[in-house]
């Protein structure tokens, strides 16, 4: 417990990830599933950002020509988080567009009902 408390940010990130995963598994509404996926994304960003932080150091923007490693935090996780945000925005857009199409066709957002209706269409 003590160890978890010292790594509070990462613990919170992991719990958020689990919450998003549970939403993804349990909710039948497509919009809620997408929200769960986005919560998982957010947990990953929090995790990466907390991995890059070093206590007592500044953001990696060079001021007054100081270029020592001991002066700045790790810049790499910031770049990774940026990639993650962009990809998350893209796939959220595509998933929402697909959801809109499904709603227009079946007039429901419940994934089970949509599956049943689609099966009925095939038969």
């Amino acid at each position: 417990m003590q160890l978890l408390y010292e790594n509070l940010e990462q613990t919170v990130a992991v719990i958020l990830f689990g919450i998003g995963f549970t939403i993804l598994l349990l909710q039948r509404n497509l919009i809620r599933k997408i929200i769960g996926l986005n919560i998982m994304d957010t947990a990953i960003y929090l995790f990466l950002a907390s991995m890059g932080y070093i206590s007592g150091r500044k953001a990696p923007i060079v001021v007054d020509g100081v270029t020592e490693v001991s002066a700045y935090i790790n810049p790499i996780p910031a770049g990774l988080v940026l990639t993650g945000i962009v990809v998350s925005v893209s796939f959220t857009g595509i998933l929402l567009a697909l959801t809109v199409r499904l709603y227009r066709r079946y007039n429901t957002l419940d994934i089970d009902v949509i599956a049943l209706l689609a099966k009925g269409e095939d038969a």
Binding site: G18, I61, V62, I76, A97
Partner: protein, 339 residues
């Protein structure tokens, strides 16, 4: 089968053909045959018994079939009602167990990770050291993150912009409502227009007045963030998002007619095309020069000045344009299915 064949043999055309081929005698034979068959056909006892047995067999078979069907129907009904509930409960329990197990294992891992803010964590390795100590003199950007994503890892950022562009194209394919070829609107388009007119604010004085003040400031702030990407926090992605927020605000206040004067599908296509191809060409040039050990000929400038960092500022502008166009077109498509 036999009935059909006899029909075919006794139909008038066949008879006439027979009469032509063989004369009257053949017909006579046939008539005699028929009469004799009719007279001979007296049902025998054994035949009757057989027929009865057959009928019983078929009845039994049908009954078993019906029973089977009933059983299956009952099973289906059970599956449809209580079975589905039971399966749903089992699914929920399994999902919860899986999630809890996953959280438990991840927490166990987190407990063994290096402490938060630890300067000796394995994440802070020689790559970080290189970026921080040599970043400014190699890329010319004061913002080390900008130097990293647009110089050391520029290929990755090109991929990101392309992912955004592809996402916008996919949403365009999925949601765009086209007119017919002769320009008359489709039923869906009319419905979307009336929905838009019904649900969205129109000619709202308060909104328009505040937008007239806010939009230029928001756009200026976005441009500032893009142009200062190599000097301060920010860059193409965040600045582009801010610019698109300003554009969306304008669209909300003044409607599609006025926004369509400066942003159409053609704008989207050309801006994305020029930005992405400029990015790709510029980075191809610098990769080619760097891989062959040639001087790139792009001045890095004095770190900290606005005109510094070599290619980083133009690349930031390209990324910002792609991002703002993509976000704006997302909004327009989700709202009305077109610009």
């Amino acid at each position: 089968m036999s009935k059909r064949r006899s029909d075919w043999q006794t139909r008038p055309q066949a008879r006439i053909r027979k009469w032509f081929q063989q004369g009257f005698t053949a017909l006579d034979d046939e008539i005699i045959n028929q009469i004799s068959q009719q007279t001979i056909q007296q049902p025998e006892v054994s035949q009757m018994m057989e027929a009865q047995r057959e009928a019983m067999d078929t009845r039994r078979y049908e009954r078993s079939l019906a029973l089977e069907r009933l059983e299956r129907h009952e099973l289906q009904a059970w599956v449809r009602t209580r079975g589905r509930k039971a399966i749903g409960r089992v699914y929920v329990a399994l999902a919860l167990a899986m999630a809890v197990l996953m959280i438990f294992f991840l927490l166990e891992t987190v407990a063994h990770m290096p402490r938060f803010g630890d300067p000796n964590a394995p994440v802070t390795n020689e790559v970080t050291e290189r970026y921080i100590t040599r970043g400014v003199e190699e890329t010319g950007a004061v913002n080390i993150v900008a130097g990293m994503i647009l110089d050391y890892r520029a290929f990755d950022t090109l991929g990101e912009s392309t992912v955004l562009f592809i996402a916008a194209s996919a949403v365009l394919i999925l949601l765009r409502i086209d007119r017919r070829k002769d320009g008359t609107p489709v039923q869906e388009l009319i419905a979307a227009e009336s929905d838009d007119r019904h649900y969205e604010p129109r000619a709202d004085r308060i909104l328009q007045g505040s937008v007239m003040v806010l939009t230029p400031i928001i756009l200026l702030f976005g441009i500032y963030i893009i142009l200062n990407g190599h000097l301060s926090p920010g860059g193409g992605f965040s600045g582009g998002a801010i610019i698109s927020a300003g554009l969306i605000l304008y669209l909300d206040a003044f409607g599609f007619d006025k926004a369509g004067r400066f942003f159409t599908y053609k704008t989207f296509a050309w801006v994305s095309f020029f930005s992405l191809s400029f990015y790709a060409l510029a980075k191809a040039y610098s990769f080619y020069m760097g891989a062959n050990g040639l001087p790139s000929g792009i001045p890095l400038g004095t770190p900290g000045a606005i005109l510094s960092g070599g290619l980083i500022m133009p690349l930031n502008i390209a990324v910002g344009m792609v991002v703002s166009c993509t976000m704006y077109i997302f909004y327009a498509l989700f709202r009305k299915g077109g610009l």
